[in-house]
Symmetry: C2
Subunit: 254 residues, 2 copies
């Protein structure tokens, strides 16, 4: 069918890949955790051998959406191409379509974010259009001269991460299957600023009652771990409870 409309000149999909790194700060101590974002350095030439747009700048991984796929599928495909990681839970969070955001013309981008384990990203590889791949703290990333409007996209993604962290059990994607309370606390504190989380006594008293986690047992007795402390600490795992919160109610509803 004849194209009767003025159409965009490109349709792309970008992915903000977040991870939380753990830094061992001493023996028998919970590690210091920090939120990081994965960026790629745009190479000088594209795969056709022509100069690449915004070459040399750091940018979110992403690429053009193909006509036989959705932006979401493109995000999955590109994520695998860039990092070698599959099966992660990608979320769409926004559209960036301001005229002039890309010098090549009217190019629309769908923005996604994904949470990866630090371990997953160890398998990342450098591909033809990413001369370098690196993890940055959010502060570092936002100080760089990023390609296109990727600074705005990252700021927005961060906001969505914070919201999701507070409203859903997103934290589970930053944690191993079995974790101790201090690990959960560490993950939450990378993103949320809340005294009821940062105050140890309050958090340790309350956390075991969260309806969405449960203590792990083994051979009929509670399973403990000494990975971060001398005292064995109880291991927990997330269950399938989906908490629902509301400004009109305090108690959680599933």
């Amino acid at each position: 069918m004849k194209n009767k409309f003025i159409t965009p000149e490109g349709y792309t999909s970008d992915i903000a890949v977040f991870t939380i790194t753990s830094e061992q700060v001493g023996e028998y101590k919970p590690p210091k955790k920090e939120l990081k974002i994965m960026l790629i350095k745009r190479s000088e030439l594209n795969h056709e051998g022509n100069p690449n747009m915004e070459a040399g700048k750091w940018a979110l991984p992403g690429g053009f959406v193909r006509p036989e796929e959705t932006a979401f599928q493109a995000a999955e495909r590109r994520l695998t191409e860039e990092t070698g990681v599959e099966g992660l839970k990608i979320k769409h969070f926004g559209v960036y379509d301001s005229p002039g955001r890309d010098q090549r013309g009217w190019i629309i981008s769908n923005a996604h974010y994904v949470i990866a384990n630090e371990a997953d990203l160890r398998t990342r590889k450098t591909t033809y259009d990413a001369s370098e791949v690196k993890l940055f703290t959010l502060e570092e990333a936002l100080e760089l001269d990023l390609a296109f409007d990727h600074q705005t996209i990252i700021e927005d993604a961060l906001w969505f991460i914070k919201k999701d962290m507070a409203l859903t059990t997103l934290a589970r994607h930053f944690l191993p299957d079995e974790f101790v309370i201090s690990e959960l606390q560490g993950v939450l504190l990378t993103v949320l600023d809340d005294p009821s989380i940062s105050t140890d006594a309050a958090f340790f008293r309350k956390a075991p009652t969260f309806p969405f986690i449960e203590a792990v047992s083994e051979d009929g007795k509670l399973k403990k771990s000494k990975r971060y402390s001398k005292t064995p600490a109880q291991l927990y795992q997330f269950n399938d409870y989906q908490p629902i919160v509301s400004v009109y109610r305090n108690k959680l509803q599933g």
Copy 2:
């Protein structure tokens, strides 16, 4: 610059316009409130005089995005064109870009929703490509044979409305500036199903303590209304408090 990429054949913006109608169910009684969505009937011919795609079907208002605007701006523009209403708070909630969703080709749609006052929609007008405009209950709307993938879009929009109603003070957009508790309750119940809202005693005891509303005073004394009851009921208004909820905390934080 030469276009080197396979590009979409159209970029559109759709808007789900919601309103809550009030039906007087008797004197001195709170009115029955119901969530409705505004749909347009696609006309047989488009403005060029050619047969219109999906003609005769009910659909979300919307249209093609122009290259000098964003999808968001297109939504604002189309909303005004369709309804004559300006200045409402439009929210983007999703992208619909599955191959095959529109027979005309690879056409991407950005979906938005907006809350309008029932009164606002009284000024709505019929335009060249909408032979009819009508409010439907959500049940009615989802039973229609809707154009394109608009059924999916409406289902998704409904989900977002519910979420926003629970997590934000979205309810304010369905209420007059000054309202009584039973009106607030009525609005919430059109979308949320929660005993702490539907149980009168619980809701009336708790509502006055919500940090995001406050009692209205006039001439130094509390302002009351008798619009829905014989007993004068206290009037409230929303303030600027933005409640923040979290699954890890019960008390509200601003």
